[in-house]
Symmetry: C7
Subunit: 95 residues, 7 copies
Amino acid sequence: MKFKPLKDNVVVQVLEAKGKTTGGLFLPDTAKEKPQEGKVVAIGTGKRLKSGEISPLSVKVGDKILFSKYSGNEVKIEGEEYLIFSEKDILAILE
Amino acid sequence: MKFKPLKDNVVVQVLEAKGKTTGGLFLPDTAKEKPQEGKVVAIGTGKRLKSGEISPLSVKVGDKILFSKYSGNEVKIEGEEYLIFSEKDILAILE
Amino acid sequence: MKFKPLKDNVVVQVLEAKGKTTGGLFLPDTAKEKPQEGKVVAIGTGKRLKSGEISPLSVKVGDKILFSKYSGNEVKIEGEEYLIFSEKDILAILE
Amino acid sequence: MKFKPLKDNVVVQVLEAKGKTTGGLFLPDTAKEKPQEGKVVAIGTGKRLKSGEISPLSVKVGDKILFSKYSGNEVKIEGEEYLIFSEKDILAILE
Amino acid sequence: MKFKPLKDNVVVQVLEAKGKTTGGLFLPDTAKEKPQEGKVVAIGTGKRLKSGEISPLSVKVGDKILFSKYSGNEVKIEGEEYLIFSEKDILAILE
Amino acid sequence: MKFKPLKDNVVVQVLEAKGKTTGGLFLPDTAKEKPQEGKVVAIGTGKRLKSGEISPLSVKVGDKILFSKYSGNEVKIEGEEYLIFSEKDILAILE
Amino acid sequence: MKFKPLKDNVVVQVLEAKGKTTGGLFLPDTAKEKPQEGKVVAIGTGKRLKSGEISPLSVKVGDKILFSKYSGNEVKIEGEEYLIFSEKDILAILE
């Protein structure tokens, strides 16, 4: 199954916050920070501007991104969880 | 009876969340996830842009789509439930 | 007495939710669903676009329509109840 | 004293809801419906569009109109109560 | 000291609601209606439109105006109270 | 240290409400009115309009201004308190 | 690891409020003011205007800036905390 996000929507696979402290201790689930990093797995064709033109997205499939906490729609496809959100909720690309 | 949605409205038949775990157990109703998948059964003619042009929809009848939780207007036509919402609440097409 | 709705307003006669189950039982008032179907009895001349043009309505008098729950202004004219709302709250025409 | 409403404001004299049932009984004040009918007593010169043009109003002095519940600003001039609201809160003209 | 309101701001001297009934009785403060009339004492140079043009105000110094309840910013200059608000909160000019 | 406010931001030094009644009595802090006067100490270069042009500010450094209660961002630079706000929250210049 | 903020986003390293009074006393954490100063460590390529043009940012990497309290998205990259926000939440550059 494949995704074809509409307009400026982006499908993101959330990268789990690491459950280990820098000292090597494992953290219980509640102590983990809400993850804010993800990998882009599908992008829309771009948003239609008022002029009629399509504005292409600034991220591409494979980009590792940083998104704002609590943004996005959680969806579950074939047992795997994704976040879908508008490109404007993407804060930065990590290189 | 047929639907003719106005503007960028889309009539969607909700696809029930499967009431069975991957292990084959049946789940009670309250344990089911709120469904977010649906099949497009009717689409509007498109939204009129400020320029006067009509912007055609990006989904077509028969498309299996993903929509955001809690979006849409629930309607019941001849005993069957549908969701009607604006195309902008559609997140992705599943292929 | 006649109505002349302004701009993109539409006067709708609400079609009562049927107080009978498919099995033929009569339902008490509180068990009825809030009706969402209506018949257009008067339409405005259209909304003035920013360009100055008038955008004609997509519904016409006599159309049976579906509208979103809780939308519209309830008015009572000569003892009869109507809903007046902007055309954008009309979801679909039923044919 | 005369009114000169600004822009798309309209001064309306509220027509009291009739305190009598169709059977001829007088209703106490609390049982009356909130009135939604009024008579236009003064209109503004129209709203300035972004293009710079003035968009003329669609109602004229003397029109009997229907307005949405709870809209408008209550003002009292020389002991008489009026409602002033923007033309966009007028739902329909009654003929 | 003089005022030079910015843009479409208007400085208004509030005209006190009369503390006397039509029958000549003096009303205690709490029984007075919140005043909605005022006299324009200073006006801005007008709001800059998107086109770059300045849209002149429709009120002039000395105008007796009607404004909507609770609108405006209360300011006190040299012991006297004024209201400053945007011209769009002015409902009508009284003549 | 100097400020260079961005866009239409203005840095304002708040002028303390006078803690003395007109009769010469000193007022405790809680009885003082929230100050609404200030002196402009730095201004931005202006807001970029949609057309691409920069719209210059209407206030200049040194202006004594009146601003609306509770507007602005409190900042502390080198021990001194300032308010920074958008020019649109400035109501009037006092001359 | 490097950041490439999207559009008009800016990555800022928060400069800690100094935990020392001017008299030299150390302040406990709760007595410190919420910091509002930061250093720009990465900037986006600019926001796309409606005309299609890209509007360049007014801050550059290395700028010491003042931002409004509570604005911005807290992110943690490789153990270090940053704030990412839209350029419009930057109030002033400190020189």
